[in-house]
Symmetry: C3
Subunit: 319 residues, 3 copies
């Protein structure tokens, strides 16, 4: 599937590599399929949408969450999986097989390949190699993870019944997070979105994203104190501050500051939501979990599976 291109209203057989492929209309089509998928999952309705289809899960790095979600999504709509974990430890790759040959081999078996790979750009590379089956990006390093961002967008849509005129506050690590970048880019498609970025200055907003958002005329502000914006937030999107990008002492100082607890909840609007891509390591305390605004442990995860079901149905399903 050389030349990854715009969805343009037609998902059938397309590689799904980047959010750049999606227009507002494509997202509308995708989301329109989600309620049907939730029904299939919640009512355990046997589905034949992917009957007879084999989907390879080719995971070069472990990600139990994304792996489990795709594996569930495929099986819920009647498809079957061939699961290859850590092929780089498998004999063929160890013997010196190229990435090109590995992709060609697995496309010979299957109807689609879900690829997880630590290197940015590898999903596009795989799509350029594969000639017969679509590649679906399940995360390529700090590159993209389009189904996760789409699932998060769906969660927002579901909660607010709209995607415009929302104030989104991003809290925590911003520089190294594809989740933040992807969701921000997606939301920039809609009018009246305001974004506030609250982070330690050392791991603040990625300059590319800043330029992109400014170009799209999104109202953005960058700050260091959550209290300045929390009372006005519709969505609080929290990210884990990554130890590996800062000195130990700075990390300890920061960790406590960019944290969501019961006190944060008191300041938030009644109809707001708190999102997190997970895993979390202390940046949202467990005391917050039982609040109805906390959607990260169930709604967000389930929507991830439903959105993946909808996407796979559109790309691979029988019409």
């Amino acid at each position: 599937m050389a030349n990854v291109d715009k969805i343009g209203g037609n998902f059938k057989g397309k590689d799904i590599i980047s959010l750049d492929q999606f227009s507002e209309k494509d997202i509308k089509i995708l989301f329109s399929q989600v309620p049907k998928m939730r029904d299939i999952a919640l009512k355990a309705m046997p589905s034949k949408i992917l009957a007879g289809k084999i989907v390879v899960l080719l995971f070069y790095e472990p990600s139990s969450r994304t792996f489990g979600s795709f594996s569930t999504a495929i099986k819920q709509i009647g498809g079957q999986t061939v699961e290859i974990l850590n092929p780089q430890q498998f004999s063929s790759v160890v013997k010196g097989e190229t990435f090109e040959d590995t992709i060609r081999v697995f496309e010979a078996y299957s109807d689609a390949i879900i690829l997880r790979h630590p290197e940015t750009g590898s999903a596009q590379k795989a799509a350029d190699i594969a000639k017969f089956v679509p590649i679906i990006n399940a995360g390529d390093g700090i590159g993209e993870h389009p189904t996760q961002a789409l699932a998060d967008l769906y969660t927002i849509k579901e909660k607010f019944k709209r995607l415009n005129n929302l104030h989104v506050v991003f809290l925590g690590e911003l520089a190294h997070y594809r989740t933040v970048n992807s969701l921000a880019k997606l939301l920039a498609l809609y009018p009246g979105i305001k974004m506030s970025f609250v982070s330690p200055p050392q791991v603040g907003l990625n300059p590319n994203i800043r330029s992109y958002l400014k170009e799209k005329k999104v109202k953005i502000q960058e700050l260091q104190d959550l209290d300045e914006v929390i009372r006005d937030a519709d969505i609080l999107s929290v990210s884990r501050v990554k130890k590996e990008f800062m000195p130990e002492d700075l990390y300890r100082k920061i960790q406590g500051k960019y944290r969501v607890d019961n006190n944060t909840l008191l300041k938030m609007k009644k109809e707001s939501i708190i999102m997190h891509p997970l895993p979390r390591v202390g940046e949202i305390l467990m005391e917050v979990d039982s609040d109805p605004r906390a959607v990260y442990l169930r709604t967000q995860i389930r929507n991830g599976t439903y959105v993946r079901m909808a996407l796979l149905a559109l790309v691979l399903g029988k019409t």
Copy 2:
């Protein structure tokens, strides 16, 4: 599913953590489903009992036998699995995710979680965390492994057409074996059971179990020589003497002594059976395998799968 409780005649949606949940009546209900399950397996009858259901196998330690048995059981009755091996080596847990969050994440995908974990009490902990789906304990350290004990009990029932008035001889390591402890506790539910415990004194009967059995008025005796009881045994339940709990020289001396061979067979009743939870390491010689009283290599294993099928059907199946 907080507060694991008694089955009380109703399996639907229940966590299965401990044998303490089962009454004699519950066991009767469970066992009544087993012949149907054997039919499904032996005749390769496609079944829809778990149609549309996704069961997560979450195994924090490898156990190819239990894993294979549950995986087979789920698929035989039409369910599908999402298999997560060694999640503690997966990124999310490595990044510091708590056990709480991992359980919450996987319950969001699935209709049930089969948990294998090296820490005693972890299955109960998972059941306290999970709010929406049942947890089934597939072994938690030296804690419990309820489906294995139930399968062993079923094997006894099937062979003797009764569960009362039996003489059970436990041979080998007793102190560190959940299998021994669990089966002994289960059998204590029935009248007229006599138990003889034959073991090296260093790894003799667990004091908690001794108290439990005495309280339940079970006739027990503890001894060191199998010859004193072997001629009267209905069931000879053998356990591997674990190297790791004793000095090397003692182990070598003991290994030879608590061994079942053709000579043992000569002393046993014609209608008795020899059980072993496997793996074995020399404590039953291969020459014994072809004797009809040896049920460990086939009957016991197959009953394990059938009993798991029956349990899953009762807990998760469509009525």
Copy 3:
């Protein structure tokens, strides 16, 4: 299934261990099923040939290609898999369980075992142990890998519409390749086959194979220069020269010499084909891949899956 024996026109329930079991007639029966299987795969037709059957994939060494191919084949015809990778790292084997017991345990769960094992002869050993289910050899060290050789033979048949009167040139490493040995032995069943073996003398034709072919009156020649035979070749079967069997400097010298590139293509007949068991490491340049004579990246791999589907249908399928 003690005593592996000839297929003799009846595949049902047979162990598939070695090509020696197959007569020309058996191969004809097997190949007659393949087009039906290709249809099932390409049209994603749900099939019930293995409905209700559980097949264990027991892989003692990783082989993502063979694993993926068998896993796909089973699922395409309606069977289900229980996948056990690296059981020697699993607790039971680590605890000292014998190969005998492991096979006995997995046959108790399943309707067949697909075995991959690094030790030559282990598939036969497993077949001698298993009493109730067939064993299918998915590669045992430098022993056999019958389904791969049969798939390669099918590719030849499909391309030339015949299996006699062909000139097959084997290029590269010959001494340590079960692929070469197996294909050569299979082709020796047919009349008018000529074989040329082009290799570095250090890793030339296996003496056992040489005797076998001579006994079967196959016309063979051994040489070191591909140019002497390339213009007459119908089939060019390329093998990776294995670094591990020669000194580093010799390897570098040889690698360049036994290589297929666009220049080789110019010399080859229009209606010839180039085969490779994969993985390759530079012995066929990527520039060759797009030539229609290059069948290694797609046709050969797909035929591998179709031939496995046909074999499993004959051995395990409902009549």
